[in-house]
């Protein structure tokens, strides 16, 4: 039997506020244990929550970015359970009336196909602290620095059908939260973490199978492997005639497997009820409008604009809108190029810029492990280099040499071209003289070419470039060679 895997993700994005969701304590990562926990965070008697406006604003930004409904009145609720790293004995979250309802995310699959994943909701909540079970000799340590850190829990519909789709969704979401500047996306520090709800069903069925929730997926690779493992596990059970038990499972990256954490019967009754210490959270029309006005152009809109206005192919548009920094860099190259050229064809300029940003620059950044924002070659400088190709000062091939020199910090493109004498030879007379010499010196190859062996042409191009130290204008060299060899 063929099986279909059905996946929905619950993602916790840590909101990039400096202070916590309901207290003034700092959220910085890596401080000494319990040094960033105030009276509220350790749940002293008499303390009360005060919502962080910045966190609410980030949630609104997200809601607008995914086209969800931003609720004018959302309600905080208490989720009650006992655990030592949950100081109040309840987590303040949102339950029946989350701040964002609905929305969707467009994702691109590895094969280039595209798909829309619907979102169920996104709600604000506070994080718990951490229990430390090592190094305490039979006791547990509690670090409450993380307690109260603002989170946006983003819940998708079960719209994904493979681990690859789930990863594509998680990556798109990861890119989006960084794009709209609500989360730093640092997965190692736990700023962006996913739980996956996985079920399987016979292909063609339209009812959902029993799902398992997999926790502890803090990298895209673990997400992919955990889902693949879990789908195999469930299919194996089904094929043997067994039944899937609804439960929460933990992914163990060392063993590359999931294992049971707690069953449905052991699941907590969280006794949700509206948080009486907080009135409903009001979002006024004016606030919503202000947040919307400050929202940057979103990746989907930008991508669509690149394809429409700049006539870029889809794959370029996707690559250039992978992050806000990449798009900003690209746009700066384009505008730098426009300034340098004073006229000319905008779409051709954009294509040239796209080739360089998505090609040579991306490769160099990737090799160096650098983010584009920290590129040693600035966008304006790259624009000047591209301008020199387009005005025939240098060839594309020479340009790569110039780029490497710029990357190494040797200065601006023009200076490097001058210093190294890389200016292209475009003097037809000079080129003809050089080519005449080559043709005269290689009668055998001339004969070969004239007998129909087109490949011999490349030999002459190579000789011409060698003689000009790569500086011969390739178009002119080709044109002159064709003329001379035609004999």
């Amino acid at each position: 039997m063929d099986w279909e895997t059905v996946i929905g993700l619950e993602t916790h994005a840590q909101l990039s506020t400096r202070s916590k969701m309901f207290s003034g304590a700092a959220t910085a990562f890596g401080a000494a244990p319990n040094t960033q926990a105030c009276a509220f965070d350790i749940a002293l008697p008499g303390v009360l929550p005060v919502p962080n406006k910045g966190a609410v604003e980030r949630a609104i930004r997200f809601g607008l970015a995914v086209g969800g409904e931003v609720r004018r009145r959302s309600v905080f609720a208490r989720k009650n359970y006992f655990y030592p790293d949950l100081p109040k004995g309840y987590q303040i979250s949102q339950f029946e009336a989350p701040i964002v309802q609905g929305g969707a995310l467009r994702i691109v699959l590895p094969d280039g196909a595209e798909k829309t994943v619907r979102l169920t909701r996104a709600h604000l909540e506070e994080d718990a602290g951490k229990s430390l079970h090592e190094d305490f000799h039979g006791m547990s340590g509690i670090d409450l620095n993380r307690a109260g850190t603002p989170l946006l829990e983003i819940v998708s519909e079960p719209d994904m059908r493979s681990a690859a789709e789930a990863v594509a969704y998680a990556k798109a979401l990861h890119a989006l939260v960084r794009w709209i500047d609500i989360c730093d996306g640092n997965m190692q520090e736990g700023s962006f973490r996913c739980d996956a709800n996985v079920s399987v069903r016979p292909a063609g069925s339209d009812t959902l199978g029993t799902r398992c929730e997999i926790k502890n997926l803090n990298s895209f690779r673990f997400l992919e492997r955990a889902i693949e493992y879990e789908a195999r596990r469930q299919i194996a059970i089904c094929e043997e005639g067994g039944r899937i038990v609804q439960e929460t499972r933990l992914y163990d990256p060392d063993r590359d497997e999931t294992r049971s954490m707690r069953s449905k019967e052991e699941a907590h009754d969280y006794r949700y009820f509206p948080e009486p210490d907080l009135p409903p959270l009001e979002v006024t029309d004016a606030w919503l409008a202000a947040v919307g006005a400050a929202l940057p152009e979103l990746p989907a809109a930008k991508r669509e604009r690149y394809e429409r206005e700049l006539a870029l192919p889809a794959h370029d548009a996707i690559t250039l809108t992978a992050s806000r920094d990449t798009a900003a860099y690209f746009e700066e190259v384009v505008s730098g190029l426009a300034e340098a050229e004073q006229g000319g064809e905008a779409q051709a300029r954009a294509k040239a810029a796209a080739n360089w940003v998505a090609g040579e620059l991306a490769g160099a950044l990737n090799r160096a492990g650098l983010d584009i924002a920290r590129s040693p070659v600035k966008a304006r400088d790259l624009a000047r280099l591209i301008a020199r190709i387009r005005d025939d000062t240098i060839s594309g091939k020479i340009a790569k040499e110039v780029f490497d020199a710029m990357w190494a910090g040797e200065g601006a493109a023009d200076a490097i071209i001058e210093r190294r004498g890389l200016r292209q030879i475009t003097d037809t007379g000079a080129l003809e003289a050089i080519i005449d010499g080559i043709v005269a010196a290689n009668p055998a190859q001339v004969a070969e070419y004239r007998s129909g062996k087109e490949k011999a042409f490349n030999f002459f191009v190579g000789q011409a470039m060698k003689a000009t130290k790569g500086k011969g204008n390739p178009v002119q060299v080709t044109e002159i060679l064709k003329r001379k060899l035609a004999g």
Binding site: L44, P45, G46, P49, N80, F273, P276
Partner: protein, 498 residues
């Protein structure tokens, strides 16, 4: 000096007839003499109090005193008070010394008042008799075999017995008004959101409200001028312009429309209480007020709704007392679950545990709609009843409690009987309205069963409740003050300590 009003004390301090240190000592001495039998205080710390008194004297000496500068005030032991034990009457917090001041304490400190001590209370404010305190029951100064009411019983006892000129309390279902009524003093429960809950240990967050206890309405106004005010640290605190709660004290009662709820004079009300309340209404009519009947048809649902909502919130609010970070932890345990169970089993008393169980139950999956959600709907109906009534009257007047103070132990065996003592007070909390209780007479408890054979004294105070519309505190205080100008119930002192 013990019978002097806050105004008189302030005048004496300003005129240097007495210093704050001398005044504070007088009260500390009286506490030392009387509190062994009354048990109104959980903590008295003369050194700390006198240090504050000395600071107040310097301030007074510099001519920088305000109406409360140098005056000792007792605080219910659930207002966190920096450096003082703040126990909530519980073993769970018996060792807890507060690291910060509640907003209310900050305000009294800023006004230059002296913290006289921390008063006894029902454990976590859960009770109507003060008997659930881990530190033993406070006693009613009118008859030490009777309860002073609760949960702010220690504060009421302290003020009634002249061990403190004034005190703070909190009122979740009547915890200021009921003990005020049972000890013959005045107590105001403000509109929800008027007094900040920051640093006021939560029992039921949506109902809890701090307020003052004193011997006259005029003094309540002076205390409210200090206690009330917006506090950004409490998201339910209401941001309104500061008001002078004494501004309507001189306003005549003439023209006041009094609403008398029939439901408050039905079965269960002791005839002597009904008679005293009726006499008070008559007195107000003589001052020019008009009366009319009003309907509060859902009154009978208020106690059941209250005993769903308050325990539900309490069960969650008290989860933080888990023995992990502070407070009581069982000395021995096997594992985490065992530590929770033993610490909470031994740290909380029976009434608190009963309410945690009830609250946990009503919030549980499958019961939430039937209990919690239904109770919230009733809450809205009750608020609507009051809104309707206030279209036709300015103040609702009735009894504060069904009877006078009962004897210790009389109702502890039957929680429901105890809960019914709140029948006239809880609806006000559910609606979030302001209300006060002032003394209006005395009774013998003749209809309250065993209390009829009271061994000494024999007379116990009766409280008159005035309920106002939202933010009508100043009006309520004005009506109460005008009533007190023509009566002397509030000047009667219990037969103790002379």
């Amino acid at each position: 000096m013990f019978d002097a009003s806050l105004t008189e004390l302030a005048a004496a301090l300003a005129a240097k007839r007495i210093s704050s240190v001398e005044l504070t000592r007088l009260f500390l001495d009286r506490i030392a003499r009387l509190d062994g039998s009354l048990n109104a205080f959980i903590t008295v710390d003369p050194e700390r109090s006198l240090a504050q008194a000395r600071a107040a004297d310097r301030r007074l000496g510099a001519g920088e005193g305000g109406p409360l500068t140098g005056i000792p005030v007792a605080h219910k032991d659930l207002f966190l008070t920096e450096g003082w034990p703040s126990t909530c009457g519980s073993r769970m917090l018996a060792n807890f010394v507060a690291p910060y001041d509640a907003h209310v304490i900050e305000r009294f400190n800023a006004a230059g008042a002296v913290i006289l001590g921390k008063t006894n209370m029902d454990e976590f404010a859960m009770g109507s008799s003060n008997e659930s305190s881990w530190f033993g029951a406070a006693r009613n100064p009118w008859n030490p075999e009777c309860v002073p009411g609760g949960s702010s019983g220690g504060s009421a006892t302290a003020v009634a017995a002249r061990m403190a000129p004034a005190a703070t309390g909190t009122d979740t279902g009547g915890s200021i008004r009921q003990p005020a009524a049972l000890t013959g003093i005045c107590g105001l429960k403000p509109t929800y959101g008027v007094v900040s809950r920051h640093g006021m240990v939560a029992f039921a967050s949506s109902l809890d409200q701090g307020g003052p206890l004193a011997r006259s309405a005029e003094e309540l106004a002076a205390l409210m001028n200090v206690m009330a005010g917006f506090d950004a640290r409490d998201s339910t605190s209401l941001e309104r312009p500061a008001e002078d709660y004494a501004r309507e004290l001189a306003r005549p009662v003439a023209g006041l429309r009094i609403g008398v709820p029939r439901e408050y004079f039905a079965e269960g009300l002791a005839p002597e209480v009904a008679a005293a309340v009726q006499a008070a209404i008559d007195a107000l009519q003589k001052l020019g007020a008009t009366t009319s009947d009003v309907d509060l048809p859902n009154t009978g649902l208020s106690v059941p709704a209250y005993y769903v909502i308050a325990p539900a919130e309490a069960s969650s609010n008290l989860s933080r007392y888990d023995g992990v970070r502070y407070g009581f932890r069982a000395p021995e345990y096997d594992d985490l679950m065992d530590m929770y169970c033993r610490s909470r089993a031994a740290g909380f008393g029976a009434e608190v545990k009963r309410r945690i169980l009830v609250g946990t139950y009503v919030l549980s999956h499958g019961y939430y709609d039937a209990y919690y959600l239904k109770a919230q709907k009733i809450r809205r109906l009750i608020a609507n009843d009051f809104a309707e009534a206030f279209k036709r009257c300015d103040v609702i007047v009735g009894p504060t409690t069904p009877g006078v103070a009962f004897r210790l132990g009389e109702k502890t065996a039957d929680p429901v009987q105890m809960y019914l003592d709140d029948i006239y007070t809880v609806a006000v909390n559910l609606a979030g309205l302001p209300a006060l209780s002032i003394p209006c007479g005395f009774g013998r408890g003749g209809d309250a069963g065993p209390a009829s054979d009271l061994s000494r004294g024999g007379l116990l105070p009766i409280g008159l409740q005035l309920i106002g519309d939202y933010f009508a505190e100043a009006r309520l205080l004005g009506v109460a003050h005008q009533y007190q100008r023509g009566t002397d119930w509030h000047r009667r002192a219990p037969p103790i300590g002379h």
